[in-house]
């Protein structure tokens, strides 16, 4: 058969563009596995129309994720869930897929391949991606029925059937020969399926190619604890059985019965086809940096190749190879330069990570080791010339990708050395404890999802193209869609790329914790927590002492929960609250004394004028809240300024605090011809009731004497508009960045009611809003109906809220200035030391 014959046959790709008129080159792929298919995907992504593609697969399936066979065996996934490309995908991309029909010969002169069923297909370019053959140790009995390898879906089916057979009275014992990654995953799956599993491993250490003795021992102990029998130093002499497997005999004479034997002792590049075709073959099919074999028309990729003396048995290098290959096929030069690999054991609940050379045998190699017996954690880093060359992590593998990245980049870790072993959070200093910063620092080609070979750059670009949720990312670039161990990384990338736009669950309080504000508040009360360190300990804070965003929040939550009992933590307060003044851009402070309801008198004005002169304040200004703001005071002068103002009877205006700022008023019935009530007097009473209270955010009140609303009460957190019949109470207004008019809460008829409702409303806000959430977003979040229900409809509840507010006010209504003016907390203001002069020559 020639090319034309084939095209006329049942597998001909149809459509005019394949005809002689537009002779697209024909790319034939041998092997429908991880590498072969990925190469085609990469090619399509670059230039979909360039080649006509035919893929031969020996297996009867569409392309699936081989590394997920372990979870399938373990019963954690179904086959459908590990399919990478469905039949539709082949069809839509015009790819001719021929399954269950392995290629058995390549004729390089004629440029054809021949399959077992006799198909002859001509190629312009041939891609060999035949993967590996499992290595079968040729002990007597290796070919008995019941002896299998662990390589493809058929093997998984056999294992599952054997395990099921047990339930029908069949054999319940399995032996896995080989205690490497694959063997242990097989053993894990079989034992989850109810079989009694024995692992026979020739070397003394499990996974000896990835783990050192210590980690291997921990692993062995953990597996034994799960009921597996692990025999190391176990040399298989014979597999015995009559007509089918009955057991294994070791060289030391021990016999272990089994109805299933899985050989997982290693793999060999599948090179027979290439060798017979006369291609250059070493351990694998030899390829150059563009994945071209010794025949320029033939490429090879995946486990079957040998590049620069290396053969690989993991997927990560395949992705690199496939990129170089696809670039090459579309006329771009992107040489493959080899890969450094890392491995993880996919046995649920046992975390093992290994990368690079852990033997520490090279010249000048040093080890850093951390063991934490009670947690079952073991970490070992091998350094050479201040660079990481190997890493073994057991029990806590969270920093694996960081170490691996350092290893791949060959960066010097001299600066981090002391803390390196404790992981990225510690080694990079407090600020870097931010897991986001860590992920942000990863290079674009850093691998995020090992299962699907997705790099950081790919995830980010898929997010940029509109995948704004974890599910969307999973659906588009497949990152985190398989074993899910990289879900956290993907979420972090979403957060970094989108900021607040991520469509996901509720946001955590900050990077130090996985709890939300609401969770933390609830737990503080439920568990009766009493201090910041206690909260951090009990809620597993990820940082030693929090950060600049969680500490002020925790301080507030505790303060609100425990009025009178909680000891305020000054160091967890923003500078303005710590110094009871507003920090300005040049590092000086501004001071706002309270002027109740906006009223003042000659004494106060004189005191302010004196302060301005005495401390040479460069500016005084009337604020939006009808107070006077004195600017440009030095930190060390603040206590003296306050002393002078206190002397005139003035107290702090809390203009710096997450607290009641001011109560703005109009003149109302006392002077105004429209005024219906005493808005000024009411304002003063409201301010006297509510000043000094700490809140989630700043809080502003205003009272207008009539609906002309001169005090702008309808853009305040709590606004009162006096009307003939009484008072309209408004809530959740905001004059800030997002101007928001208030919602009407209700109407009341007496001043006392105004005060009570106001107190109850403030307390509800104090108890339920998140720190730094102003009333406007809070009410929008919980709904005005909810607030009405709590304040207006639930009379008992309102009274209780009001009582709680007044109770907490009994502790908080003292003037912070007074204590400081008398010398309290001197260290907040005075320099620790002063040296004049310090010039070198003068000191000598």
């Amino acid at each position: 058969m020639d090319f034309q014959d084939y095209r006329a046959g049942e597998h001909a790709a149809d459509g005019p563009d394949t005809g002689p008129a537009s002779p697209r080159e024909h790319l034939v792929v041998i092997g429908n596995g991880m590498a072969g298919c990925r190469a085609v995907e990469e090619l399509l992504a670059r230039d979909a129309g360039r080649y006509r593609v035919t893929i031969f697969g020996a297996e009867p399936h569409v392309n699936y994720n081989r590394i997920m066979l372990s979870p399938v065996l373990a019963g954690e996934k179904s086959f459908d869930e590990i399919v990478i490309n469905t039949a539709d995908w082949y069809r839509e991309n015009g790819i001719d897929l021929i399954v269950s029909d392995p290629v058995i010969a390549i004729d390089r002169a004629a440029r054809t391949v021949t399959s077992r069923s006799g198909r002859v297909v001509a190629y312009d370019r041939l891609l060999i991606a035949t993967g590996s053959d499992p290595f079968i140790i040729p002990v007597p009995g290796y070919d008995l029925p019941g002896v299998i390898s662990f390589r493809d879906m058929k093997d998984v089916d056999t294992m599952v059937a054997a395990a099921d057979a047990k339930n029908n009275g069949g054999g319940g014992e399995a032996i896995v020969i080989g205690g490497g990654l694959l063997g242990l995953e097989a053993a894990h799956g079989l034992s989850l399926r109810g079989m009694k599993v024995t692992v026979l491993h020739l070397p003394g250490t499990l996974m000896e190619r990835q783990l050192d003795e210590a980690a291997g021992w921990l692993l062995k102990t953990a597996l034994e604890a799960r009921g597996q029998t692990i025999l190391t130093g176990a040399d298989t002499a014979e597999i015995f059985g009559q007509g089918k497997v009955e057991g294994v005999r070791l060289k030391d004479g021990r016999e272990i019965p089994a109805s299933l034997v899985v050989m997982a002792v290693g793999i060999r590049p599948s090179v027979a086809l290439a060798r017979e075709a006369g291609l250059e073959v070493g351990r694998g099919i030899k390829v150059d940096d563009h994945m071209v074999t010794s025949d320029p028309a033939i490429l090879a990729v995946g486990e079957c190749v040998e590049h620069d003396g290396q053969v690989y048995g993991l997927v990560a290098p395949l992705w690199d190879m496939c990129r170089s290959l696809a670039d090459g096929l579309t006329g771009k030069v992107n040489p493959y330069r080899g890969s450094v690999t890392s491995t993880k054991l996919k046995v649920s609940g046992i975390d093992v990570f290994s990368a690079g050379d852990f033997s520490g045998a090279g010249a000048g190699c040093e080890d850093i080791v951390l063991r934490d017996a009670s947690r079952g954690v073991y970490k070992r880093l091998v350094l050479q010339d201040d660079r990481i060359v190997g890493a073994v992590l057991y029990g806590d593998t969270g920093d694996g990708s960081w170490y691996f990245d350092l290893l791949r980049k060959g960066e010097s870790v001299a600066d981090l050395r002391d803390l390196l072993i404790f992981g990225q959070a510690f080694a990079s200093g407090g600020g870097q404890a931010d897991p986001k910063a860590a992920v942000a620092a990863l290079s674009d080609d850093a691998e995020i999802c090992g299962c699907n070979g997705v790099s950081k750059g790919q995830v980010v670009s898929c997010i940029a193209k509109g995948a704004h949720s974890l599910d969307a990312v999973r659906a588009t670039c497949k990152a985190s869609a398989s074993c899910g161990s990289c879900t956290g990384l993907v979420e972090t990338l979403l957060a970094i790329t989108l900021g607040d736009d991520v469509q996901s669950g509720p946001k955590t309080m900050c990077k130090c914790t996985s709890f939300t504000h609401d969770d933390v508040r609830r737990e503080i009360i439920a568990q009766g927590m009493k201090s910041i360190p206690e909260v951090m300990q009990k809620l597993h804070w990820g940082t030693p002492d929090g950060c600049a965003s969680c500490r002020p929040a925790l301080n507030y939550y505790l303060l609100c929960a425990l009025p009178g009992d909680y000891v305020d933590d000054q160091q967890s307060r923003f500078v303005n609250e710590r110094l009871h003044a507003n920090i300005q851009k040049d590092g000086t402070y501004s001071v706002v004394p309270r002027m109740w309801g906006g009223l003042t008198n000659p004494r106060e004005l004189r005191a302010i004028a004196d302060v301005v002169e005495k401390y040479e304040a460069p500016m005084v200004k009337v604020t939006g809240g009808q107070r006077l703001d004195i600017f440009g005071i030095k930190k060390e002068d603040l206590p003296a300024v306050w002393a002078d103002l206190n002397a005139a009877g003035m107290v702090s205006g809390h203009a710096y605090g997450k607290a009641l700022r001011t109560v703005k008023t109009c003149v109302g019935s006392e002077w105004c011809r429209f005024g219906t009530q005493d808005s000024t007097g009411l304002g003063v009473r409201l301010e006297k009731m509510s000043w000094g209270s700490w809140m989630p955010h700043k809080f502003k009140i205003a009272v207008s004497g009539c609906p002309r609303n001169c005090a702008e009460a309808t853009i305040k957190d709590f606004g009162v508009v006096c009307v003939d019949s009484g008072y309209e109470l408004h809530v959740a207004g905001n004059g800030g960045i997002h101007v928001r008019a208030t919602d009407l809460l209700c109407r009341v008829s007496t001043e006392q009611q105004v005060l009570d409702y106001c107190a109850a409303y403030i307390q509800l806000y104090r108890e339920e809003a998140r720190y730094l959430e102003r009333t406007a977003p809070w009410v929008e979040r919980v709904g005005i109906d909810y607030v009405k229900q709590r304040i207006v409809e639930d009379e008992v509840g309102r009274e209780a809220l009001c009582a709680r507010f007044l109770y907490s006010q009994s502790f908080s209504q003292d003037d912070p200035w007074a204590a400081r003016a008398e010398g309290g907390e001197r260290e907040q203001h005075a320099h620790m030391a002063q040296f004049k002069p310090v010039k070198a020559e003068e000191m000598a």
């Binding site: 500490r551 160091q571 851009k585």
Partner: protein, 112 residues
């Protein structure tokens, strides 16, 4: 003064997770920090961003969040963390018998 070291006071005078300032003629203000794990660091009291007084920031871990725009500065290196770029000069500091000593030459260099 002891050799090249200036004695600036008792370590207990610095609040834990807080800082105190020291003024040195010719060197501006120095901020001396004491962290939660009782390490002491000294930095020029100026944020690399827009000169915020770092001494007034919230100290967390071995970093301080600048009070002006919340840049996080590593106390050990003076480097801005995360995406921000910039560095504040650090001054060698040690605690000896409960007294805090800062390096005089380092102080002068920080001013330079």
């Amino acid at each position: 003064m002891i050799g090249d070291w200036l004695d600036i006071g008792w370590v207990n005078e610095i609040p834990v997770r807080g800082s105190r300032t020291v003024t040195v003629d010719g060197a501006g203000e120095i901020a001396v920090f004491r962290t939660g794990d009782d390490n002491v660091f000294a930095l020029r009291n100026r944020c690399p961003h827009k000169g915020g007084p770092l001494s007034q920031g919230i100290v967390h871990g071995h970093s301080v969040a600048c009070p002006l725009h919340n840049w996080n500065i590593a106390l050990a290196t003076g480097e801005a963390q995360g995406e921000d770029k910039g560095c504040t000069p650090t001054i060698p500091v040690k605690v000896d018998g409960g007294r805090v000593l800062i390096c005089r030459t380092g102080t002068l260099q920080a001013a330079a």
